[in-house]
Amino acid sequence: MNLKVNIGNLELKNPVLVASGTFGFGKEYSHYLDLDNLGGIMVKGLTLYPKEGNPPPRIYETPSGILNSVGLQNPGVDGFIKGELPFLNEFNTKIIANIAGETIEEFVTIAQKLDINGVDALEINVSCPNVKEGGMSFGVNPNSVYEITKKVKRVSSKTVIVKLTPNVTDIKIYAKAAEDGGADAISLINTVTRMAIDVNTRRPVFKNVFAGLSGPAIKPIALKNVYEAKRAVSIPVIGMGGISSTEDALEFMIAGATAVAVGTYNFINPTGSIDILEGIKKYMLKNSIFDVNQLINSINV
């Protein structure tokens, strides 16, 4: 059975990844599962300098979903390279560094710092809804998506993935902007900007008012975005958004995703990513599919 898939020049041993911000830097989950079994790990968003993030509360459960407002708390790119990367490199899995600059120049600097052994790919995060500088403000502007991709590509020898936000009217434009900028792949979706109100205080639950919705609630949104994006570009698409079962993952692959990332579901079931991978293998056996690539974009419309 072949499970290998290619994202640009990057070969993944299987198509199941874990989504940025939902898997820390791997260490925490290594007590629950063998990281070697994952296709790759998309690490928490990295900024140029260490970042404290937003004041609590940062999470709120909604019907079939969660809103989060972490605001990219992370040790900064240097802190990651020194403090987190050595542990990750003990495992035989691909390390995809999620990068979040506050300016275009910062994206370039972070990408340069990460052009080192032990990092296999960069995921450009132009889609975080929880920060004031950078983040989604870039992702809702096709010119910025294009420019950041192009400039990062110029300085990086790594596979460059652009992570798109669903908070736009036409995802195809943004997928195309990333491709035109030279992206090796796109990943989608980041969280959906939403809100919640505390009726007792009549205040927004979150200090930033808006927060990012993830989990099963956004799966149909994500699936449509992946399906549409796939049809707008010829580079590989990494699908995510609410994936919580083997069937969910298969839906994304059938809709056009070359690989999938498990996000919020890691919180609910720490071995969820591996359970989903095992489920995909079973599905392939049952349906006599010998190469997982046969599944990709196999939708019958």
């Binding site: 925490e28 989950y29 509360p57 999470i59 459960e61 989060n68 919020t264 890691n266 919180f267």
Partner: protein, 243 residues
């Protein structure tokens, strides 16, 4: 992991005691995450109230849909539980005069702690709104004083007022309870310069230190630093935390 429920019953108004078969060895102050079923998504965190051989006890208050669902669980049902998680209370042999102070559903983890403390002189101060719970079990381990806000049981008023003048000989304070209470405990500890550990709460996602949602503001060399309640805590030195 799936664990079998031994017992789940109401021990006071809206307060339940749940006993689970459990094969991990927890430390006092640590917590477990429980999938409460129904249409809840995230697991809920609960402090470990007691642990014996292969049995774990939590005591919880029905607050919202998760704890409501949990209250309906019956013996022999199974629950999905992860843990024990977090950094619990540090137990020191050198201290003989110890104050343990708790309020409301902050009280349960202090029972497991009291059991593990080998202090000559253990004072246990428990503050309730109205109805009490677990008091007789605490009496096995030390001198217990009880207050209730409405005077239903014990002295009327706040527990932090009741112990205010009794701090001088105390070597260390351990506290858990609502934020306002922890603030008062921290103030008292700072006023009398007594070391103090408190267990704090914050809404959390994964419970294992990955999602960065359960932020607790702590002092740093410059400015502040958000630590993780689930991994760095839930127990912190009071002087470190900004409440």
């Amino acid at each position: 992991m799936e664990y079998v429920v031994r017992e789940n019953r109401e021990i006071s108004n809206g307060i339940y005691r749940l006993e689970l078969e459990f094969d991990e060895i927890p430390m006092p102050g640590q917590f477990v995450m429980i999938n409460c079923g129904g249409n809840t998504l995230l697991k809920r965190p609960f402090s470990i109230c007691d642990h014996d051989a292969d049995k774990l006890t939590i005591v919880y208050q029905v607050k919202g849909k998760g704890t409501y669902n949990l209250s309906k669980v019956k013996s022999l049902d199974t629950l999905e539980v992860t843990g024990p998680h977090g950094h619990g209370f540090d137990v020191f042999d050198k201290f003989n005069n110890i104050l343990v102070i708790g309020g409301g559903v902050g009280i349960p983890p202090l029972l497991f702690l009291s059991k593990k403390l080998k202090a000559k002189n253990l004072k246990i101060a428990l503050g309730f709104k109205s109805n009490v719970f677990l008091v007789d079990e605490f009496q096995k381990y030390g001198d217990v004083i009880v207050t209730s806000e409405d005077g239903n049981t014990g002295m009327k008023g706040y527990i932090t007022d009741a112990i205010k003048d009794d701090i001088k000989n105390i070597d260390i304070i351990y506290g858990c309870g609502p934020k306002q209470m922890l603030k008062a405990v921290k103030d008292i500890a700072e006023k009398y310069d007594v070391p103090c550990q408190i267990s704090v709460e914050e809404h959390m996602g994964c419970g294992i230190g990955a999602c960065m949602t359960c932020a607790c503001e702590t002092k740093a060399d410059v400015g502040f630093h958000y630590k993780k309640v689930c991994q760095d805590g839930p127990v912190f030195w009071a002087k470190e935390v900004v409440l």
